[in-house]
């Protein structure tokens, strides 16, 4: 049996203790949170219990986000979700002074300019909710079922690029997860590695 040096064991112990717990885990209850939307109202995740909820991390300046907004892909997903009674929450975790930071005014302008129709655009400039969900990129998508369980986390679709032409060729994991939940099936693809620009905490 190999014996590790004292330094080796100490290092392993430190590693085990230092690794942060991931709050949002697929298959577990989605962590609750409260954020202000662009109209100044506080919105809480648990107020939407009983409905499918989609969380979309957004930064209007990011080329990967622009891919999905320039192609109208995100807007169509939001409209379809609304028609299906799904609550779509866009979340902006860009810190004040960082790229893509949205004030309530700028957030409202973004929604109008893009014809976007999430149920709410939530402002998370201190990044607390971003870190709670370990949101790494914009976009980064999460799907929560009506029982409040996180059933999908990851990329919006299967082609990690900034090319709007790839949208129609890609598999849309968010739409697939929604379809599975609506049909009462277990979600087939529960997690993928997200792609995009880093969230500007």
């Amino acid at each position: 049996m190999r014996r590790m040096s004292m330094v080796g064991w100490a290092a392993v112990m430190v590693l085990a203790l230092a690794r942060p717990a991931v709050a949002a885990e697929v298959g577990e209850p989605a962590p609750d949170f409260t954020l202000q939307d662009v109209t100044g109202h506080a919105r809480t995740l648990s107020e939407f219990r009983g409905k499918i909820v989609v969380l979309e991390w957004v930064n209007p300046e990011c080329p990967f986000v622009k891919k999905h907004y320039d192609s109208d892909n995100m807007q169509r997903l939001q409209q379809t979700a609304a028609a299906q009674g799904i609550v779509w929450l866009s979340i902006n975790s860009s810190a004040i002074g960082k790229q893509g930071h949205l004030s309530p005014e700028l957030g409202g302008e973004f929604l109008t300019a893009r014809g976007a129709s999430p149920a709410a655009l939530l402002l998370d400039s201190d990044g607390a909710v971003g870190h709670l969900y370990s949101a790494k990129t914009t976009p980064h998508l999460f799907v929560i079922n009506p029982q409040g369980v996180l059933v999908y986390a990851g990329a919006i679709d299967s082609i990690p690029s900034t090319d709007a032409g790839d949208v129609s060729k890609a598999v849309n994991y968010v739409q697939l997860a929604i379809n599975d939940v609506l049909a009462g099936r277990p979600v087939e693809t529960v997690a993928t590695q997200s792609y995009g620009c880093s969230v500007k905490y």
Binding site: V7, L15, E61, G127, K136, Q193, V199
Partner: protein, 281 residues
């Protein structure tokens, strides 16, 4: 020999906004002043970045986008893959990505066919696409060209670039005979065992593994190097998200940092890793 750089900025920006200036310049260069039919030679796309800006490796890591080269060469020319230099890690909050800053040479071996015409120079071209990031990210895209004579004479080294090619090639991640690797899963950790072939094992002060496969390890997690009588072990955290297709090999670049005696600053050693992973997750 001349190089022409045409900057074509991203068409993905809203039409009403003026495209922002690129912070990365690209050019196509060659190690020699001519090419010889049937003889391999080195050419490279050189990306020069303004301070603070970086572009991405083949595996960009948690965010970003790979740098790509699409070659436009005479039909009779054979071109090899990009020889990626060892990347650096750019760590942010929640994300770590892999890429390059300053200047990077992305070289490939080109071989004109044995019957390539020497009547006129060959035009070599490439479309280079990248994502350049500092605090923000911008798409970058450029067409680069290089005209080179094709000649039966022995090609002469290019005065401007030959030294850069030699230095870059020496630093490329090497296939090593001196180090042996084994990889295995242990719960959610991927352990890379590193053993030296000789009794005189060099002392390492650190190591970093850059995986070629995205989604295998948690890029943002610390990598801890431990040492025992059997050698070194690099502890990698498995990705929180299991890949869609199980990954049964660990492939990537391992950068080893030799321990320094006072007054020394030894260069890091980049080696290629390509081993099966025991016990698939």
């Amino acid at each position: 020999m001349y190089s022409v750089v045409l900057s074509l900025l991203s068409p993905l920006l809203p039409a009403h906004a003026a495209p922002p200036p690129s912070h990365v310049q690209a050019e196509l260069v060659a190690e020699t002043d001519s090419l010889r039919p049937g003889q391999p030679a080195w050419i490279a796309v050189v990306l020069t970045m303004e301070p603070g800006w970086h572009v991405y490796w083949h595996n960009p890591g948690d965010s970003g986008l790979s740098t790509t080269i699409r070659w436009d060469l005479p039909g009779s020319f054979d071109i090899g893959p990009i020889e990626w230099p060892a990347p650096s890690a750019f760590a942010g909050s929640e994300v770590t990505s892999y890429g390059y800053e300053g200047q990077v040479m992305l070289m490939s071996r080109v071989t004109p066919s044995a019957d390539a015409s020497t009547a006129k120079p060959a035009m070599l071209g490439a479309t280079v696409k990248w994502l350049e990031c500092r605090e923000i990210c911008l798409n970058g895209s450029t067409e680069v060209r290089l005209e080179l004579p094709i000649d039966q004479a022995v090609p002469q080294l290019n005065a401007q670039w030959a030294n850069a090619f030699a230095v870059a090639r020496r630093r490329l991640p090497r296939v090593t005979q001196q180090w042996a690797f084994q990889a295995r899963w242990q719960a959610r950790q991927l352990l890379l065992q590193i053993q030296y072939a000789d009794d005189l094992e060099p002392e390492l002060s650190g190591a970093a593994l850059f995986p070629l496969q995205p989604g295998l390890i948690e890029h943002n997690a610390p990598q801890r190097l431990t040492h025992d009588s059997d050698g070194y072990t690099l502890e990698l955290s498995g990705a929180f998200v299991a890949p869609l297709k199980p990954v049964d090999r660990l492939q990537g670049v391992l950068v080893l940092q030799p321990a320094a005696d006072p007054g020394e600053a030894p260069e890091s050693i980049a080696v290629q890793v390509d081993v099966p992973i025991e016990r698939i997750r």
